[in-house]
């Protein structure tokens, strides 16, 4: 030991004259770092209430609760997360997993209150001093806990696709399907959005776990047209899938298709276990073998009722067969769905038109219930002068001719009027027949009611889309084999009431173009000619649609209705749900009892 060792401890005194390191809270505030994981903030307008935050929270600190005054939009559960700070550990996994990035944290970390119940609050809804804070933890844009990219669907290249009517979409391999199914967050927003309320997360789980037989059983609980819907469904589920907020939504439609593609028709009966129950002795007539009518037939037959379907065409499927080209929905896939339904003992009378071959009143007398699923087949008029020109073709007619193997004779240079799926199908079919195609649509591409895939694929296949083009008049061309259309450019005028913008014709910008033919595909309407006037007067028909009541019941006691003729959505999945729901209603009528748990969800 030396003198230095005795003296050196006294150096501590030199710090006595330095500024202290401690801060003077609460006189001086010390804000948390910009990334600090402080109190939760939820942007309620962005949040869709998917509940993934609740799912990942290992402390069970999050409840999903209803919020007063919150008007749920489409694709919104209407619930919002409520945090319990007696449980929260501020790990921020809820922020990391939040698909919409609506959830984040403020950098505020001190909160004093004498009411412990206050520590349970609905973030972003309950007024909190930090709700407007900009600083605080957010998920980094490069950091994801759920893969954001959809597995790319193998497709026939556009150039190849044009050479034939073979299916363009090839379908996922087992490995691809599993990877895609892995992206599901199981929130169920899709279930609420699907018109048929298909149990999407449940059948996606069967893909993930490789139990496709269970998957098929789940599909058939709500949809006997799964091979079809797995190809051409309008997939509103995907539009609302929260996973899409950070990247691509789940390929729900393709996963459904994957399940059905893997199971051969011969195994259906064994897997689904559909034994025909004891015959009820009741008879049901169904008019139209489209998706709605055949769905009704399937669910009625399973309940033991004798079902007879009347179909004008030589084959079933309705618009699925005669309106959807085979490169999107091959005939054998549609046959797979229909054949299974027929195999349960459903009688289908093809080539039998109600009102001609058999009278509507005969059905009313001879059957215990009648379901009308005739769809809409009368093309809507453009309401411009000269549209009865022979070179103006109807869209549905063109598609139907092609489906039956007839040449619709569109010519080499054609125009398609419209922006829906029928218009896109007409355009793509015409491309396959060797025509140059121009699509004229009165609004913008983003306003088109057609599926986005259809629009993109049309463009990829070389169809030219002219936006904001309003037909003004159809004129005779120099040659009778051609037709001239006068069309004007439109400006989009915002709707003062907040609706969608309206196209307004600009009189000074009108053009004339000549084509070999013009395909009008702006919509169709129902035909009630087969119903005798006496009965027709008792039905409620508004804007061309037959109004259904509970369980798709009409005002006539025995008559139910569904599909395009009864709903404004006019797509296959809505028709299937109408048919399913009508089957419940018809069964109640015939059995005289209400089935438990079949109230239709909104």
């Amino acid at each position: 030991m030396n003198l230095k060792d005795l003296l050196s401890p006294f150096y501590v005194w030199q710090r006595a004259f330095e500024k202290p390191l401690t801060s003077l809270r609460p006189i001086e505030e010390r804000p948390g770092a910009p990334r600090y994981r402080g109190f939760h903030i939820n942007e309620v307008g962005t949040c869709v209430g998917c509940g993934t935050c609740k799912l990942i929270c290992q402390n069970h600190a999050i409840d999903m609760v209803e919020v007063e005054g919150l008007e749920p939009r489409g694709g919104d559960s209407g619930l919002r997360p409520r945090f319990d700070y007696g449980r929260c550990c501020w790990c921020a996994l809820c922020v990391d997993i939040c698909p919409t990035s609506s959830l984040r944290m403020s950098n505020q970390y001190a909160w004093l209150t004498d009411d412990p119940d206050e520590f349970r609050f609905v973030a972003g809804v309950d007024a909190k001093s930090w709700n407007a804070h900009e600083l605080g933890y957010r998920r980094d844009k490069d950091y994801h806990l759920v893969p954001t990219k959809r597995l790319e669907m193998p497709m026939v290249p556009p150039g190849e696709g044009l050479k034939s009517f073979d299916e363009v979409v090839k379908g996922y391999s087992a490995e691809q399907a599993k990877l895609e199914a892995d992206r599901c967050i199981e929130c169920g927003i899709c279930v609420a959005t699907c018109p048929a309320h298909m149990e999407v997360p449940d059948y996606i789980r069967t893909v993930r776990e490789g139990d496709l037989e269970e998957g098929l059983r789940i599909l058939y609980r709500t949809n006997p047209f799964s091979a079809t819907c797995g190809r051409i469904c309008t997939h509103r589920c995907e539009e609302v899938c929260p996973v899409g907020a950070q990247g691509d939504p789940l390929a729900i439609r393709w996963l459904k298709r994957y399940i059905v593609d893997q199971v051969p028709l011969a195994d259906y009966r064994r897997i689904l276990g559909d034994e025909i129950p004891t015959e009820s002795g009741k008879k049901v007539a169904i008019i139209g073998a489209g998706p709605g009518g055949m769905s009704a037939a399937y669910y009625l037959r399973k309940r033991g009722h004798a079902v007879t379907v009347y179909e004008t065409q030589q084959k079933g499927g309705g618009m699925l067969r005669y309106g959807v080209p085979s490169y999107r929905l091959p005939d054998d896939q549609l046959d797979k769905d229909i054949d299974y339904i027929v195999s349960l003992g459903v009688e289908v009378k093809y080539g039998t038109k109600v009102g001609v071959d058999v009278q509507f009143t005969e059905l009313l007398e001879g059957f215990d219930a009648v379901y009308i699923g005739t769809g809409v087949n009368v093309p809507t008029k453009m309401r411009v002068n000269g549209e009865d020109h022979p070179r103006v073709l109807s869209g549905p007619q063109v598609l139907s001719d092609v489906a039956k193997g007839k040449d619709p004779g569109v010519g080499k240079n054609i125009a398609v009027i419209g922006g829906g799926n029928v218009a896109m199908d007409c355009a793509r079919v015409s491309r396959r027949l060797g025509a140059e195609v121009t699509i004229l649509y009165r609004r913008r591409i983003e306003d088109m009611p057609a599926d986005s895939e259809e629009i993109h694929e049309s463009q990829a296949e070389g169809c030219r889309i002219v936006q904001r083009a309003i037909p003004v008049e159809i004129l005779r061309a120099e040659s009778d084999a051609q037709v001239t259309i006068k069309w004007g450019e439109a400006e989009m005028v915002p709707d003062p009431k907040g609706g969608r913008p309206r196209p307004v014709l600009q009189e000074d910008r009108v053009h004339e173009d000549t084509f070999d033919s013009i395909i009008s595909a702006i919509g169709q309407a129902g035909d009630y000619g087969f119903i005798p006037v006496a009965e027709r007067d008792k039905l409620e028909i508004k804007w061309g649609k037959l109004l259904p009541r509970d369980y798709q019941h009409t005002t006539l006691e025995k008559v139910f209705v569904g599909g395009d003729i009864a709903n404004d959505v006019a797509d296959a999945i809505s028709a299937i749900e109408d048919g399913h729901h009508a089957a419940r209603g018809i069964h109640q009528l015939l059995a005289g009892t209400a089935e438990a748990g079949v109230e239709r969800k909104p």
Binding site: P9, A33, R35, R37, I56, D142, I185
Partner: protein
């Protein structure tokens, strides 16, 4: 004074004590679990003759939270928020080892930038943890100024953690697949500033602690670990290095970016409490040097997270793995077993405190003055929370 029995266990524990406890010569002293000289919630049952400890029995069980079992019922991503709580003063080593084990089993390659960010975090953690030990070390020898300085400067490191990870203590930053974010703007300047302040403080501490007659007199010769004891007791880290055993996983089996970094393993010879403190003091300087190297050399852009499957139903193929890293106290290991499901089949966390604070402490306490028990315990640098997962 008693001899250790043949098994090496103290006689009062094994029941073959030669001491006549009712003779009036001995007093039993219960030190802990709230005694400030104990490094966390554990206690020592001491038999004292005069002021000399003749027997020591350790008691744990005050901190058992059952993490290993809890983790068998949580998904792989949920567990990442739990592991940091296993060793409170050193969460980052747990975060890294858990992530590394999961990545090993799931076959995930972590991107380069994440490797560097993880190494940086681990060294910042080492620095913060050692500063806390420095405070405890000073206090347990009666130098009460040192904890105030050391812990205040540890807070500057925690400030850095706060801006990188979003939290001061439970960082939850190293996530399976990578890390949660890159470095914020201006981090390099602020980190450099903190390193300068800490070095200034360390200069003063060296003078006040290591050249302090009281500290020297009490710490020198206290709790000598012979090189033969090192493997016998499973001693690792600075405790072993102070005995001249130059073992350091960062050097011996380089993980993360340590293979690219320039540093020497600090060792000592005397192997008493003073020497162990001195080795740790060198490692504090070493940490600062490593942090400086890293903020100069690490890549500042590129991905910091490898793609992971959807964590909500992440299944990992059946397998087992043991991963290890050099924490402030030596080798820290995670053993994970998976069975192909969404949950861990088994996880075992092995920290160095287990041997240091139980078997070794019981051995070294014997013959020590009771006033030096705290100093001895701190000189072994043990964390009861990691003994009791």
């Amino acid at each position: 004074m008693t001899e250790a029995t043949a098994t090496g266990a103290p006689g009062s524990l094994s029941g073959d004590s030669t001491l006549d406890l009712s003779s009036g010569k001995y007093i039993k002293v219960w030190q802990g679990p709230q005694h400030p000289g104990i490094t966390g919630n554990m206690s020592l049952e001491l038999v004292v003759c005069g002021d000399e400890v003749v027997e020591c029995k350790t008691h744990v069980g005050y901190l058992h939270r059952g993490f290993e079992k809890l983790m068998e019922r949580r998904t792989f991503i949920q567990n990442f928020t739990m592991v940091c709580r296993i060793a409170v003063p050193e969460p980052t080593f747990n975060e890294y080892l858990y992530a590394a084990a999961v990545e090993d089993l799931a076959g995930i390659q972590v991107p380069e930038r994440a490797v560097w960010l993880r190494t940086l975090n681990l060294e910042m953690m080492r620095l913060a943890s050692f500063l806390m030990w420095l405070g405890g070390s000073g206090a347990s020898f009666g130098l009460y100024t040192i904890p105030q300085w050391a812990v205040a400067h540890r807070d500057f490191v925690l400030d850095l953690f706060e801006e990188v990870t979003g939290s001061r203590i439970y960082h939850m930053y190293i996530v399976p697949g990578g890390v949660r974010a890159g470095l914020p703007d201006g981090f390099k300047e602020r980190a450099t500033d903190v390193m300068i302040r800490i070095e200034k403080m360390l200069g003063e501490v060296e003078r006040i602690v290591f050249h302090n007659a009281v500290f020297k007199k009490r710490a020198k010769g206290l709790g000598i670990i012979t090189p033969e004891m090192v493997d016998h007791y499973g001693i690792v880290g600075p405790n072993a290095r102070a005995a001249g055993v130059a073992r350091d996983l960062r050097k011996d089996e380089p993980y993360l970016a340590y293979g690219d970094l320039d540093f020497e393993v600090a060792t000592g010879t005397a192997s008493d409490a003073y020497e162990r403190a001195w080795v740790r003091f060198q490692e504090i300087h070493q940490s600062i040097a490593l942090i400086r190297q890293m903020i100069e050399r690490m890549p500042m852009d590129g991905p910091f997270q490898a793609p992971v499957p959807n964590v909500l139903h992440w299944k990992i193929p059946a397998g087992e793995t043991y991963v290890k890293a050099e924490c402030t106290r030596g080798e820290y290991g995670y053993y994970l077993v998976t069975d192909g499901s969404e949950y861990l089949r088994r996880i075992h966390v092995r920290g160095p405190s287990y041997t240091h604070a139980v078997a070794l402490m019981e051995k070294l306490a014997v013959g020590t003055n009771i006033a030096d028990i705290s100093g001895l315990m701190v000189s072994l640098h043990t964390y009861p929370p990691e003994i009791e997962r």
